[in-house]
Structure formats: structure tokens, C-alpha cells
Amino acid sequence: MTTEARDALIACIPRLRRYARALTASRNDADDLVQDTVERGWSRLALWRHGSDMRAWLFSIMHNIHVDRFRRAEPPMEEFGDETPSGAVPAHGMELRDLESCLRRLPDEQREVLLLVALEDMRYEDVAAALGIPLGTVMSRLSRGREKLRLLMEGQPQGASLKVIK
């Protein structure tokens, strides 16, 4: 492997950690996800195309690992979210902590898109490429994710839009 590729990979690790922390339910899950992503990245580094976007490549790897491993854990997380009375989400104050709990209540695929856009400043086309989904799907997930998060943060009842998986 070249030092250029190594340096590029190491430089991406803090971003992977930030994203994983926002994406997953616990710090342990986030650490595991980053660890697996970085290891897979190292083991395939010789296959990374020079000059291509290392960050997009790594986020794509992370997405695949997340889908494989963490998405199965989604239903209990949703249940937990639904058991939380909506009155427990105050409309004002302690907004940053609220944000985390509201974020957890978004469906995984909406949270992924929102975070890649908001935290990573990715263009919509790059999000589509990293997640392997059409641009239209990116836009609809972004739109639904943002609206759902807004309503949760404003303490409005979710009604039919909050679906329990399974």
C-alpha cells in the first residue's frame, strides 16, 4: 500500500467516528462500526483506486457493514422509542440532548441520509453513490427525515407517520 493511501485513510477516521456516533444507538456500537470499517478499509486498501474519493469509499464500506450488522437491531430500538411518552420530549430547553433522542427515532435509512448531508456536507449525488440508492430516494429520505425530526423536536404528535417495524 502506498503512504498516500494510508494517510488518506487515517485522515478519514475522525469523520467516520463522528458519523458512526450519530448513526448508532450506543457508543459501543459506534466504536465497533468504526473498527470494522477501518479494518475492512485496511484490508482492501490495495484495491482502492488512486485519485478516487477515499471518504466516499469508506462511507460506502461503513454503510454496508451497518446494513449487515446493525439494521437487525432496529426493531427493539423502535420499540424503545415508541414506549417513550411524547410528553417526555420537551419542546424547549436541553435541545442538544433532545436532538439525540429524537434522532434515534428516525428510521435508519432516513438518519443515514440526513447525517451524510448535515454532518459530512455531501452533495446529494455523492450520498446516492455512497449508499447505492437513486438520487430520488435520497431526496425523499432527506425530506421525510427532516420533517419527522422537526415534528419530534417541536413536540408535535407523530400520528400515523410513526411506524413500528414488524
Binding site: T2, I13, W42, L47, L99, E100, S143, R146
Partner: protein, 270 residues
Amino acid sequence: MSDQMNPIDESDLHAYVDGLLPVARVAELEQHLAHHPEDAHRVAAWRAQNAALRATFNPVLAEPLPPQLVARPFVRHAANDRQYWRQIAAALVVAIVSGSAGWLLHAPTALDSAQRFNVPLNTDGSLALAHQAAIAHVVYSPEVTRPVEIGAEQEDQLVKWLSKRLGSNINPPKLGKLGYELIGGRLLPGQTGPVAQFMYHNVAGERLTVYVTTDQTQNKDTGFRFAQEGPVNVFYWIDGKFGYALSGGMAKGELARIATAVYEQLQKPT
């Protein structure tokens, strides 16, 4: 109203929030917001979300990296390579059974990203040489603990051993003047017999491998040829029963310079 002519849609609102709206449309959109307080409210809320997400999670960027994130993968790399080897071995079985050289890279188990390797169908066996050399490069060049079987410090032994196994005098080319030092070499299984691989690195840690076969009796001599196998560039040529392939991740021009030096040395063995 202007938005009747060129309607502002939902995706424009998002692009505006994310700074991705073409500058030419910004004024138009802001005018739309001035007349649509509900949209303005949503846009403001989404902007606040972006800011809150960054405020919440940006501190992670500044956290020191756990050492195992940088160090542990290297330790565990050997395990990954063992896994690669099992996959390669499985692919080789398929290749031998199918009796087709091109199969090696088409076999789904060869490498996860074998599909990245753009393998043209050809009947010229020389291209198989380039493919195999590229695989051997990809498998061994990332190795940290055991990139070679015999190191350069035992070059005499390495030369004697590989020459004996390949049944011909095999000397690693000297590339020190070009900035590449010999790390060592190893013996590999080729199409019909043993193959030698020599590995070099430069001060930047970039590695290149020279792959030498002695089973090219079925193929005609070739001039210099170039192949690109995913991220690996390969220069290769066939000279009598010998096949040579030089593989590395460096630019084509740089690799060509090295290949020329290798070729010249092989023409005038000293």
C-alpha cells in the same frame, strides 16, 4: 408570481438549506420564502437541525483516536491475508478445473472486488500473465509482517533457491539507482509450475513486484505490454520461456521507467 413560472419544489428548499442551490436561484427562492411562511418555517427548522447536529457531534472530530484503530488492523492484517489466500486458493481450483486462464479473475471468490478488475476476454495467454502478476501483487504487497519468504539480507540463498525451483537462473533486477530496494522474494504457484516474485520498496514505502515465470513455452515473444488491473498497473513481456511482469500502484510513466531498467538488465545479465 415568479414561482408559477418556475416552481420552487421541495428539493429546492433542501438544496437551499444545504448550500447546494445554484446561486442564480437563491434570490428567487428567498422571494418564495417571503410569500410562503410555512416553507420559511420549515427551512429555518432544517437549518437549525443542521447546526444542532454539528454542534452535537463535531466534538467527536477532536477526540484522540484510539490507538487500536490505527494499530490493530495491521496486527490483524495477517488474518485477512490468510482469508485472501483461502479465497485465492479456491479460485485457483476453479481456474484449474475450468482450464481457462481468464477464469482466475472471473471466479467470484478471487477477490471481493474482482468486479473492479476489468478483464477483457482474450485468447492471448500473455494477458493471463499480467492478471496473475497483479493478483500476486495485490495479495502480497500489503503484507506487513511477511511480505516475502526470504529477505534481501539472504539474497544469495534466495537466488539459489528460486533458480533451483524454477530450473533457470533467476536473479532479482537491481533497482537501487531508481530508488527501489529489494525486500526479498517468494515462490508462488503459476499456471503450470513455480513462479518467482520479487518485491521492492522505495523510501515512501511504495511497493512494486517483479513476477517471473518460466512456463511461457506456449506463448510467442512479445514486446512491452501494459495492463491495468484495478488499482495496479502492470508492464509485462514474454521472452522465450520467460514471462516477466512488473506490478505496482505507481503511475504508468514511473512504472515504465522501472520496467525499461528491468528489461535492460535481463538482456545483459551480469
